[in-house]
């Protein structure tokens, strides 16, 4: 079949199999939840059903390693897509396994909760896979809409609805800005296809520089909003604090990584010819994001807000790799995203296990955790040290490679600033660690144990944090193979 302009199109639906599996699983989960009483199913079936679907999708997505095919010129299935397919399905599996006890206790609508996580995974994957602005936009909205609802699912917590309101309204404004930018880009390039935009921009835009720059400003602002980059971050701490903990973990992991994946796909592909026009913008918001995220984190008392600002800081480091866009910095970015996901999820899964036991989100609540549960204290410590960039942990190695790539790319001042801010960040991570190790427990000093799945997820993630810190070559090789397809 050919489209109107005569390009041949292939409709190989098997290329979409992983997402079809996930979407079907999502509807099955909602259905199973709705008819739970009639079907005599326990509530436990829902997370396991979701995990089975995700595992199947993950396995199937491995079929297309080292292929380069597209579906109707709308999405590409290449190593980059496969990398993020695996990353996002794995993240969803970890979040679901690590939080099912929390979900049973604190979430009003369990079936919808799992279905929304599954659905947002589909959106995240297509954000990385899109090769047309239209697919990219719809994918962004699939991810955002699932999260708007998921944020509001906490039971008996008035903060939840408020967070959802702010997230939805500001997310809508961000979408509108992004779309206006995209419409200008479409006007300049005359197409929504990545390849044709790239061709049009490379051929020279002549008198179109102004609309192009305006479009880029709006695109960077809209995407910056979605990635919670400063100065578009205002909703982030509120959304993080009001959301149920697993959703906070999920937003800080998948949502951020998906926006960065889209950022990289756009700025290394269709928008690469306009590099001089956007480089300064991304550098600017990278500096602001690193600086403000880390400095405001110093004053936080709530663990969710602390992690929110810490994740804003992390986005700043990642944007630095977009600024110096090249094969090296792109691979470094993917490596850092991988390391960040493992580390950040380790911290969040530990915090979820902690919250299940104690019901507090205050940092002062972590007092004496080293006595009551030394294992959990160790996981949080390792995770926080890794986020802060201590050697022998994932965060150090991935940050080191990322900063070196930025310095080599001609942005030494940016890399220097990142190193300084990374050092600052150690201070607030140490505050939490201090609470756990230097103080006596406030109340109950008895030892307690995690649930089996709690042990499983935290142990796997802890192992990942340590292994990546010592031996990251395999992941780096994978990241390198994934980014080779970006720069043709």
């Amino acid at each position: 079949m050919r489209d109107i302009l005569g390009h041949s199109l292939n409709f190989q639906y098997e290329l979409l199999l992983p997402e079809i599996i996930i979407a079907i699983t999502a509807t099955l989960v909602v259905g199973a939840d709705a008819f739970r009483n009639e079907l005599r199913l326990g509530r436990r079936i829902l997370p396991w059903l979701s995990v089975i679907g995700l595992v199947a999708a993950l396995v199937v997505s491995l079929l297309w390693i080292d292929t380069q095919r597209n579906f109707a010129r709308l999405i590409t299935i290449d190593n980059y897509t496969t990398f993020f397919r695996v990353l996002f399905t794995a993240t969803a599996i970890v979040v679901i396994v690590g939080s099912h006890e929390y979900v049973e206790r604190h979430i009003g609508h369990i079936g919808e909760f799992y279905a929304l996580i599954l659905l947002s995974t589909v959106g995240a994957i297509y954000m990385a896979a899109a090769r047309d602005l239209l697919t990219a936009y719809v994918a962004i909205e699939v991810l955002s809409f699932s999260l708007y609802v998921a944020v509001s699912l906490a039971r008996n917590d008035p903060r939840s609805g408020e967070a959802a309101l702010k997230y939805t309204l500001l997310g809508g404004v961000a979408s509108a800005m992004l779309l206006y930018g995209l419409s200008l880009l479409y006007g300049v390039a005359g197409s929504t296809q990545y390849t044709e935009i790239s061709g049009a921009l490379a051929a020279g835009t002549g008198g179109m520089t102004l609309p192009l720059i305006l479009g880029l400003v709006l695109i960077v602002a809209g995407l910056g909003f979605k990635a919670s980059a400063v100065p578009f971050h205002m909703y982030t701490p509120d959304a993080y604090e009001g959301a149920p903990l697993p959703i906070t973990a999920y937003i800080s992991a998948t949502s951020k990584a998906a926006v960065l994946a889209l950022f990289l796909r756009w700025f290394s592909g269709p928008l690469l010819p306009a590099l001089p026009d956007w480089q300064w913008m991304v550098a600017l918001i990278a500096v602001l994001t690193m600086g403000l995220g880390n400095l405001v984190a110093l004053q936080q008392r709530n663990i969710k807000r602390l992690l929110a600002y810490s994740s804003i800081g992390q986005v700043g480091y990642m944007l630095m790799a977009i600024t110096t866009v090249s094969v090296v910095s792109a691979s470094a970015l993917l490596l850092h995203i991988g390391g960040y996901l493992v580390t950040n999820l380790a911290v969040f899964m530990a915090v979820i296990a902690f919250y299940n036991r104690t019901g507090t989100e205050e940092i002062s609540g972590f007092r004496g955790l080293a006595q009551t549960n030394p294992y959990l204290a160790l996981v949080i410590t390792a995770g926080m040290f890794s986020l802060g960039g201590m050697p022998l942990l994932a965060g150090f190695l991935t940050k080191f490679i990322l900063f070196t790539a930025a310095a080599d790319g001609g942005f030494l001042w940016l890399a220097t600033f990142a190193v300084i801010m990374s050092t600052v960040s150690l201070y607030y991570y140490l505050q939490v660690i201090k609470q756990m190790y230097l103080y006596q427990p406030d109340g109950d000093a008895r030892r307690w144990r995690l649930s089996p799945t709690g042990y499983l997820t935290t142990a796997v993630l802890l192992a990942g944090t340590v292994v990546l810190g010592v031996y990251a070559t395999p992941l780096y090789t994978l990241a390198d193979r994934a980014t080779r397809v970006l720069f043709v």
Partner: protein, 190 residues
């Protein structure tokens, strides 16, 4: 096509659209704002027709002026205290400044750019395409994936909206009626 009629139509519709949009801004009563919004959307549908996008115009009337407006009126009825006296209060001056600045910048860029000559297309001789046929063929053909993705999005927006407004009290009543005992003790806080 090159008649004076289409030019008159454009200006009439443009004035209606922008005027009604400004009306949305200054209304204190939510219902008035919604009526202004409907007027603005209908003006826009007319503008889409002058752009020869008749299908988009129909969609605009059905979805925006129809469905969305009804939804907004329903929301207004369900939030009785919120519908009156919506004075502007937040960031009035900075907002006006930002709005005017944005209009000036975007408008300047739109007017200043010689779109037509750069695009190199022959605007005047262009025949009006059969947009319904084109759009239909593209939606089910080339853009089928985006179409499917959007339908998944709508399905889950529907589920999400139901979940959001689901009444907790009714849920508890239903839960009490259903035999939940087998799945363990359920936290029943208000």
């Amino acid at each position: 096509m090159e008649s004076i009629g289409i030019i008159v139509a454009f200006w009439a519709l443009a004035v209606t659209t922008v005027g009604a949009a400004l009306g949305v801004l200054v209304s204190r009563n939510l219902l008035h704002a919604i009526f202004f919004l409907i007027t603005s959307f209908l003006g826009m549908a007319g503008l889409f027709i002058t752009l020869s996008a008749d299908f988009i115009a129909a969609a605009q009337v059905l979805i925006y002026a129809g469905a969305i407006s009804v939804l907004l009126v329903f929301a207004m009825m369900l939030t009785p205290l919120a519908s009156r006296d919506n004075a502007n209060s937040l960031y009035l001056a900075p907002g006006a400044l930002a709005g005017l600045g944005l209009a000036a910048i975007v408008g300047f860029v739109a007017v200043d750019t010689p779109w037509a000559e750069l695009a190199g297309s022959t605007l005047a001789e262009r025949s009006f395409p059969d947009t319904v046929r084109t759009i239909g063929a593209q939606l089910i053909g080339r853009y089928v994936l985006a179409f499917e993705l959007a339908s998944v999005l709508l399905l889950f927006a529907l589920i999400g909206a139901v979940v959001l407004v689901h009444d907790r009290a009714a849920e508890r009543g239903a839960a009490a009626a259903a035999e939940e005992a087998g799945t363990g003790p359920r936290e029943e806080a208000t």
